[in-house]
């Protein structure tokens, strides 16, 4: 390979497109409404005039064609999984099956109201009930709340349940132990529940050592919150021992399930001694990420925590299903209505499409793909923890730094080769981290192209580092001035006067 010209990163016709507010013309419309078939009373006769407003100034006046073209054009400035390889570590950017999108749009799902009497929502409830059983089986736990709206929301809900559990024993406790390699949401969720965070370092092999946990574990620790596989893509091999240490002092074991996709069908958190885990449906179960949501973060718990689950739960009696709000020990609610139902439909469809064998194959293939990349790039890029990985591998820029090329430059240069960059500068415990997660939905050819591009960039870093430092060269815009954005925030459009 020689430069990005021969790889997939090329451009078609790309348009400049102003903000929608800068388009249109007074009186142009993009909507239609049926004629009003009831008496058209003046609004002032129904609402006191001082509470009324006129047409909202600044809203654009555009036609339907304008709207379609505008959003189609700006969509073309985005990279997505549908366009190519998106090895964004920890985010699990796998293919999103299109049939799932069709299923969500079935009128019986899309046009069902959340306050339908249970008798009129039996299909929705049956789907939720079955999905809970599948997620319980995959996680090895007893009950699953489908209530939380995102992974971080699931963490918060899980920590709230842990707090309620300890409270029921007379003392909510004060601290939560969190490894330094954790996602920032772990400490933030703990803080929202009033807990003080006790950090622990990973050992030399990249995993948490039982001794480190034992040293800080006491009867004021409510829980340990541990991501497994962790953010280095390594399996926390001492997890069962750590769980025993925490349980011995009455603590709970929270597993951040962000990386469940690596182990699905191979090993189960419930079998390690985990009491709570959130399951990111937008990662493992292929909910499209949509530019940043919606996702969902169901929380699976062991039996003793089930009384504290948020309301409602879905219960089955005989052949009928019902929402259960009558749970006196429940933490309450963290959102309106029962669940992000549309996300649940997609997860259900995904699980049924894969089946038991397919789900295990997902984990095995994801792990094989990550190990293949790791093996092929080892030596070309610095590998801080040289051992088999799970679904992702973490390199650093230590070799390229000799040529004053850093992780950010490598990431930007990958765009010119037609790839989305990996996650960068995370986990924080690896300086200049490049976190690569290929997922199971990429072919060997794609992985080989990516490996070739990464090698080529390493060569460039040695021989023509300025090309890498000035990247990206292909996208519509070059590197953005983020400092300016933060120092002089412009957070909305305003009409010019």
């Amino acid at each position: 390979m020689n430069g990005p010209e021969r790889t997939v990163g090329t451009q078609g016709l790309v348009f400049n497109e102003p903000l929608i507010f800068e388009q249109g013309s007074p009186g142009r419309v993009g909507y239609s409404l049926p004629p009003c078939d009831v008496p058209e009373k003046p609004p002032e006769t129904l609402i006191p005039p001082h509470l009324l407003r006129g047409p909202i100034p600044g809203l654009p006046e555009v036609s339907e064609v304008d709207v379609v073209r505008h959003y189609t054009r700006i969509s073309q400035w985005n990279f997505g999984i549908d366009l190519g390889f998106y090895p964004l570590g920890s985010c699990t950017m796998k293919y999103n099956p299109r049939v799932n999108e069709d299923m969500v749009r079935l009128p019986g799902f899309a046009k069902a109201h959340p306050y339908l009497p249970d008798a009129l929502a039996q299909g929705a409830l049956e789907l939720l009930w079955e999905l809970e059983r599948y997620l319980a089986e995959i996680s090895g736990l007893d009950r699953v709340s489908l209530h939380p709206s995102a992974g971080a929301h699931g963490e918060l809900t899980g920590v709230m349940m842990i707090r309620a559990y300890h409270q029921s024993k007379g003392n909510p406790r004060r601290k939560i132990i969190i490894p330094e390699s954790a996602h920032g949401t772990n400490p933030a969720s703990s803080a929202l529940c009033g807990y003080q965070v006790v950090p622990v370092k990973s050992g030399p092999r990249g995993v948490v050592e039982p001794e480190a946990v034992a040293a800080v574990m006491d009867d004021q620790v409510a829980a340990v919150m541990i991501t497994n596989p962790n953010t280095l893509g390594l399996f926390e091999e001492h997890i069962a021992e750590i769980a025993a240490i925490v349980h011995a002092k009455g603590g709970q074991v929270y597993c951040d399930g962000a990386n469940l996709n690596a182990i699905m069908g191979v090993t189960r958190p419930g079998d390690w001694g985990v009491d709570v885990i959130q399951i990111n449906l937008h990662k493992t179960f292929s909910q499209p990420h949509g530019g940043g949501g919606p996702g969902a973060g169901p929380v699976a718990v062991r039996k003793h925590l089930a009384p504290f689950m948020p309301v409602p739960t879905v219960e089955k009696t005989g052949d009928s299903y019902a929402l259960d709000f009558d749970r006196p020990k429940s933490i309450g609610k963290v959102r309106s209505f029962a669940t992000s139902f549309g996300v649940m439909v997609r997860a259900y469809a995904y699980i049924r499409s894969l089946g038991a064998a397919g789900l295990t194959q997902v984990a095995e293939t994801a792990v094989l793909n990550a190990n293949y990349i790791m093996h092929q790039l080892k030596g070309v890029y610095h590998l801080p923890y040289d051992r088999p990985c799970m679904h992702e591998c973490v390199f650093s820029d230590a070799i390229q730094l000799r040529h004053d090329v850093k992780t950010l430059d490598i990431a930007k240069r990958l765009m010119d080769y037609g790839f989305h960059p990996p996650t960068i500068y995370f986990p924080l415990i690896v300086s200049g981290a490049l976190m690569i997660e290929p997922t199971e939905t990429e072919s060997k050819e794609t992985l080989d192209q990516f490996i070739a591009a990464m090698r080529e960039i390493a060569r460039e870093a040695r021989e023509e580092p300025e090309v890498v430092r000035a990247a990206p060269h292909t996208p519509r815009v070059s590197r953005m001035d983020e400092t300016r954005a933060a120092r002089q925030p412009i957070l909305r459009w305003k009409p010019a006067h």
Binding site: I20, G30, Y31, V38, I47, L51, L52, R53, P55, I56, G58, L59, V67, S75, N78, F79, D82, V99, M103, A110, K111, Y115, L120, A121, G123, S149, A152, M160, G184, P187, A188, A191, G194, F235, T267, P288, G291, G292, P294, A296, I331, G332, K333, V334, R335, S336, S340, G355, A357, L368, P421, T423, T441, K444, D481, A485, P489, I490, L491, R492
Partner: protein, 448 residues
């Protein structure tokens, strides 16, 4: 499996390169006793055609708004969604992208986010909006926590006419950090009792929370409430569960609100049995560094071309960890895009027109229902597209009777308010025809 491209041969070749004998070897770090040495107890894979059949069968067992004459609202509204919304958000570039961490190849999501933030500001009359929250109730809870951070105070005064689920969620969040709630009764007009508000407000009040229009559809007078809150140094949090109302009602920002939060589901995003929906949170510029969630900002690239980035990230969990403004990260970007497309399609005229139809159709239904024997309008104040009907018979019996006519007659308020156990909450959107409203009236006339 059609979602997994690698064949057995591909896998063999890769294993050979790695120098591993089998995939199993790659899992060597998983201690043997922890391995699941059996298949998952999950049914075998369905082909696409079988899957579609299964899901169609499940969907058919729900009473959707196309097949039933439904008057359900209460925080989830049946508004018409133009076809282009579904088509545009199905584009893979929007659908299959992640949070725009790499702005050079995410300008579509970022520009749309900037447009969304602007539209929320225009709708609410505020100065700055974040890029989305999960949904209305947790957004309201986060607004309360934000008011607590800004004022350093620990009491929350909240009207009972705020959606009961929003109050429950706010309490669940706030209980973790020990905030104290004072609830304010509603008047016979169906709005928050102003005198009771004044009595409850004090030097420890972080914020006053009211819903606009409120849970009963009533239109609160925000100006005196804002004055009362500000007089004691508290903030006014206005939550909006039905954003279509803002096409007609004076914006909360104009009335003195400090934070405006709520639910954007009404903006053409569909009901979906309650989710995913769209939380929003907007405030004044002075409070921007207390905002939770993502923010899109305008900037320029190296060559001076305008563009957009995620900004002010020092508020957020991935930088600040336990000191962040919230744990929220990814929220509802694609739903925010749906709302954006809805709002720009409607424009100033369309938004006003659809709000007017909601108002007029609900007024028509309210007027007729008030004359049905055994029914009466519970509250005297002005309402938008929802209202409360007091019924002489048991609400459950009435709903059951209506169901025989394929009518879903609203929410039995006894579920949330023991003092309104003889009442139904009905919603009439632009989707209801006069014929459907008349069918409700006729069926109610037949209740024995």
């Amino acid at each position: 499996m059609r979602y997994i491209p690698n064949t057995k041969q591909d896998c063999q070749a890769m294993l050979q390169t790695i120098g591993a004998g089998s995939v199993d070897e790659l899992f060597a770090d998983v201690p043997g006793p922890l391995r699941l040495r059996r298949a998952l107890k999950i049914p075998p894979a369905l082909a696409e055609a079988e899957l579609v059949k299964r899901l169609r069968a499940l969907a058919a067992r729900n009473a959707d708004a196309d097949r039933y004459n439904s008057f359900l609202g209460a925080g989830c509204y049946d508004h018409f969604s133009p076809a282009i919304i579904g088509h545009l958000v199905s584009r893979g570039e929007f659908l299959t992208a992640y949070t725009p961490y790499q702005p050079e190849i995410s300008q579509g999501t970022l520009q749309a986010g900037f447009e969304y933030q602007t539209l929320v500001c225009q709708l609410t009359g505020m100065e700055v909006s974040n890029a989305s929250m999960y949904e209305g109730a947790s957004a309201t809870a986060e607004a309360i926590l934000m008011a607590h951070r800004i004022t350093g105070r620990t009491e929350v005064v909240v009207g009972r006419a705020v959606h009961p689920e929003y109050r429950q969620v706010a309490r669940t969040y706030a209980a973790q950090v020990g905030l104290v709630f004072r609830e304010i009764p509603f008047t016979e007009a169906g709005v928050t009792d102003r005198d009771a508000v004044t009595r409850a407000l004090g030097s420890q009040t972080a914020c006053l929370v009211v819903q606009y229009p409120n849970f009963f559809g009533g239109v609160e007078e925000l100006v005196p409430l804002a004055e009362a809150a500000h007089a004691v140094g508290a903030l006014l949090v206005v939550c909006v569960a039905e954003p279509i109302a803002l096409g007609l009602l004076k914006s909360p920002g104009e009335c003195g609100a400090d934070l405006v939060t709520g639910e954007g589901q009404g903006l053409g995003t569909g009901m979906n049995y309650g989710g995913p929906a769209l939380g929003f949170l907007a405030t004044r510029e002075q409070h921007v560094r207390h905002l939770p969630g993502r923010l899109v900002g305008q900037t320029v690239d190296r060559d001076g071309r305008p563009g957009y980035v995620l900004t002010l990230a020092t508020r957020e969990q991935h930088i600040r960890r336990e000191k962040a403004t919230s744990n929220i990260c990814t929220a509802e970007s694609l739903i925010a895009l749906m709302a954006t497309i809805y709002l720009v399609s409607m424009g100033p005229q369309g938004l006003r027109a659809v709000a007017l139809q909601n108002l007029r159709k609900a007024a028509y239904a309210k007027g007729r229902l008030g004359k049905v024997p055994g029914c009466g309008i519970r509250f005297g104040g002005p309402t938008f597209n929802e209202f409360v009907v007091r019924v002489a018979k048991k609400p459950a019996a009435i709903l059951k009777h209506l169901l025989k006519h394929d009518i879903i007659g609203g929410v039995d308020l006894g579920r949330f308010y023991p003092d309104l156990a003889d009442c139904l909450l009905l919603c009439v959107t632009e989707q209801k025809t006069r014929e459907e409203i008349d069918a409700l009236i006729q069926a109610l006339g037949g209740v024995r």
